[in-house]
């Protein structure tokens, strides 16, 4: 057996009454890739933040290269060769790449020589690992895939030998994820040690050497990747058998509930993102929109749900027009039975500083059931929140907890619970299972199908092709702002992939 790069012994950590980590023992072998999987809120991010010195363990010991060390701050971790790419990036958005890379690692009081050194070092890293990125680009103008690359560069620039990545592929397109994995393999070949947290079991199987499963704050199992299966891992995580395939009956489409005609939408820079898109969604069917991220799907659902103003076109909800080119009011649309689960829960879906119960009625707070004249019926709101927490298995089950303190996947469940429980006639849902564990994915998929079977119309966008294929009754493929094809649920991955890459549309044009 190879030598241990890191050993965690008896780590405990509580946040108030929540025991995020209990008695964790974990060995990370040098030069290997360790995967960590586990339910939302199992304590994965917490454990890695302790290793990185961002949080302090209540008790326990960290050994680096066999020696017990005290890691009190990220600085200590960096000094021991540990680097981390956080679930939410830690970048200064209006700084350039190079400024972010040197921040905290400048070797003298004046910047000039640090920048020069970083420039040549970045060139070397680019050559060795294919980590290319323009050092003078400003972070907020880079796509997330590149922002993540900057985070990796930051760690490597500090001489990281052990690299922790917390759900790195959650925000990446499949192509970006593939590129990331090539980089990780290369890093491993150079002798670096990698810890990868992910909910995508396929990724675990593809790239890790060993995998540890966490549940409710403890490590419940560690397996050699080659000797385990996706099914076994899923069962270990959730503690019961998980249905990884979606089971659904035949769709019985009814009347058209949402009808989009010739919709054209521009983004904030004035670039046309959706051009002349038309489609219908009937009650009792799930229509999925597939496409590589950035091909207009986001702008499309924003326009239909009244968040972004369209340039031209029309949208009908239950036969009545929505003013998509004028002042469509999301609140009014909600009253008319159109619910929207936004892609970006942090910026659009939640007020992180609010308590869970407040977020669980956000947007529906003027419904009679929550009101007593001008006042909120706090008890009714909280009871309602508790009911949703129980049904959606949101953890910890505390409706008074600040929303920011829920784990990423549980925040997603809060938004879903809020929108689905209103039982809207039309549901528009973006990336419903981003950052969510396998057990919750199964649950969310079942809920979406149940909605369909109750005769509701569901419009789904997702960058996960698997999700689109297994849920949708019809699949529309978007490329460069246009719907380039429609397929049934039996379309193959290859066929959709070609459409998504715009291949067929080019052939047609020739």
């Amino acid at each position: 057996m190879a030598e241990a790069a890191i050993e965690l012994v008896g780590i405990n950590k509580s946040f108030g009454t929540v025991r995020a980590n209990r008695d964790i023992n974990l060995v990370i072998e040098r030069g290997s890739i360790l995967g960590i999987v586990g339910e939302n809120g199992a304590g994965k991010s917490t454990l890695m933040s302790i290793l990185y010195g961002f949080y302090q363990a209540d008790s326990g010991e960290i050994k680096v290269g066999g020696k017990a060390v005290a890691i009190k701050t990220p600085n200590d971790a960096i000094a021991h060769g540990i680097g981390m790419v956080h679930q939410h990036f830690m970048l200064v958005e209006n700084f350039t790449v190079i400024e972010n890379v040197i921040l905290g690692a400048e070797h003298e009081a004046l910047l000039k020589s640090s920048i020069a050194k970083a420039r040549s070092e970045l060139e070397r890293l680019e050559r060795e690992y294919g980590l290319e990125v323009d050092p003078d680009a400003v972070i907020e103008e880079l796509p997330v895939g590149l922002q993540q690359r900057v985070e990796i560069l930051k760690a490597l620039y500090r001489g990281a030998e052990i690299l922790i990545l917390d759900e790195p592929t959650g925000v990446l397109t499949p192509a970006e994820a593939d590129h990331l994995f090539r980089i990780l393999r290369q890093l491993k070949e150079q002798g670096k040690t990698i810890v990868l947290i992910t909910h995508k079991l396929r990724e675990i199987m593809a790239i890790t050497d060993t995998v540890s499963v966490m549940r409710q704050g403890t490590v419940v199992a560690t397996r050699e990747t080659a000797k385990t299966t996706v099914e076994e891992l899923a069962e270990l995580m959730v503690g019961r058998r998980v249905l990884l395939r979606v089971e659904k009956g035949e769709a019985r489409p009814g009347a058209v509930k949402l009808s989009v005609r010739n919709l054209t939408v521009r983004d904030s820079r004035g670039v046309t993102m959706v051009s002349d898109v038309s489609f219908d969604v009937r009650g009792g069917e799930i229509v999925g929109i597939a496409g590589v991220a950035g091909n207009g799907q986001s702008e499309l659902i924003e326009a239909v749900s009244g968040i972004r103003r369209a340039v031209s076109g029309s949208v009908m909800l239950d036969g009545a027009a929505i003013e998509v080119t004028g002042h469509a009011d999301p609140g009014e649309l909600r009253d008319r039975g159109l619910a929207h689960v936004p892609e970006d829960r942090h910026h659009v879906g939640l007020v992180l500083a609010f308590e869970e119960n407040e977020n669980s009625i956000l947007g529906y707070h003027d419904k009679q059931q929550y009101l007593n004249g001008p006042f909120l019926k706090i008890d009714a709101v909280r009871d309602d929140a508790r009911r949703k927490i129980e049904k959606f298995d949101i953890r910890p089950p505390d409706c008074r907890l600040r929303t920011a303190n829920f784990s990423g996947g549980n925040q997603q469940k809060i938004v879903l619970a809020r929108e689905l429980e209103q039982d809207p006639g039309v549901l528009i849902v973006g990336q419903p299972t981003r950052g969510v564990d396998v057990g919750a994915i199964e649950f969310i998929h079942k809920q979406l199908i149940a909605m369909r079977d109750r005769g509701k119309a569901v419009l789904l966008i997702s960058v996960e092709l698997d999700e689109i294929r297994s849920l949708s009754d019809r699949i529309l493929v978007m490329f460069d702002g246009r719907v380039v094809g429609e397929r049934g649920p039996d379309a193959t991955e290859g066929e959709l992939g070609l459409l998504m890459a715009g291949v067929e549309s080019q052939e047609a044009a020739e």
Binding site: F54, L91, E93, L103
Partner: protein, 323 residues
Amino acid sequence: MEFFEALINILNSTIRVSVPLLLACLAGLYSERAGIFDIGLEGKMLAGAFAGAAAAAVFGSAWIGLLVAVLVSVALALVHGFASITHRGNQIVSGVAINFIAAGSTIILGQAWFNQGGRTPSLTADGRFGAITLPFADQLRDVPVVGQIYSGLLSGHTLLAYLAFLAVPFTWWVLFRTRFGLRLRAVGENPAAVDTAGISVAWLRYRAVICTGVLTGLAGCYMSLSQNAGFVKDMTAGRGYIALAALIFAKWKPVPAMFACLLFGFLDALSIRLQGTPLPIVGKVPVQFMQALPYVLTVILLAGFIGKAIPPRAGGVPYVKER
């Protein structure tokens, strides 16, 4: 030629009244760039002005006055830091409290120590910073235009005035060319990024707040030891707030900050100059109106003419380690 002389005169007083604004504005820049909003510039200036004048009166030395002014102002800045960095308190509340403390205690202490109705004793030449005549200023006085500008406008200010204008390029250099500046800007934008990069957020912010204290101390000192010969109650008269307005106006950048302060200073100088002189068409304008003009213009300028001013993103929010 008469018009030119009048212009030089107005510009000269523009510089004089701009100096405390500029020092306070740069003071605010250090703090706000680091993510600590500071509405207490006014109070720190006032306390600095009082402490400086009191110490200069007692010890008969402007330099001792300066030292004491800076110490007192830094002490208040640290109080603000303690409340808003260590205890994660509300930065506006803490700043307002400091303004109240300064306004009240300067009068009470002044009365108790000097018995002159809240004033400090008039300072002698030793207790003040005298005007510095630049080399050859006297000889060049009669050279048209260039000489007039040199000796009438640029020469003859006090040490603190020159210091204030030198502080502008210096601040730019610190912010954009040094490690401290890079970290300072970063902590005002995303303290979590600074924290995970292995830098102490609290210590960095404390250092920023100390810079603020030093500069507000100098600003106060300029008012009581250069512009005037002693402390008068409420002598800062809202300059701390105007400095904040200038800071927003300048979008938290040092060189634009200087021009913003000069603009506000110019309006102030103009209002002093035009007091009592009848204007064409409108006739004689009440003194109060002229005095209010800079503030009115500030509101108008801030409301519509500067475009979007994006403050440092983490400004005003205490840093707590959580998501």
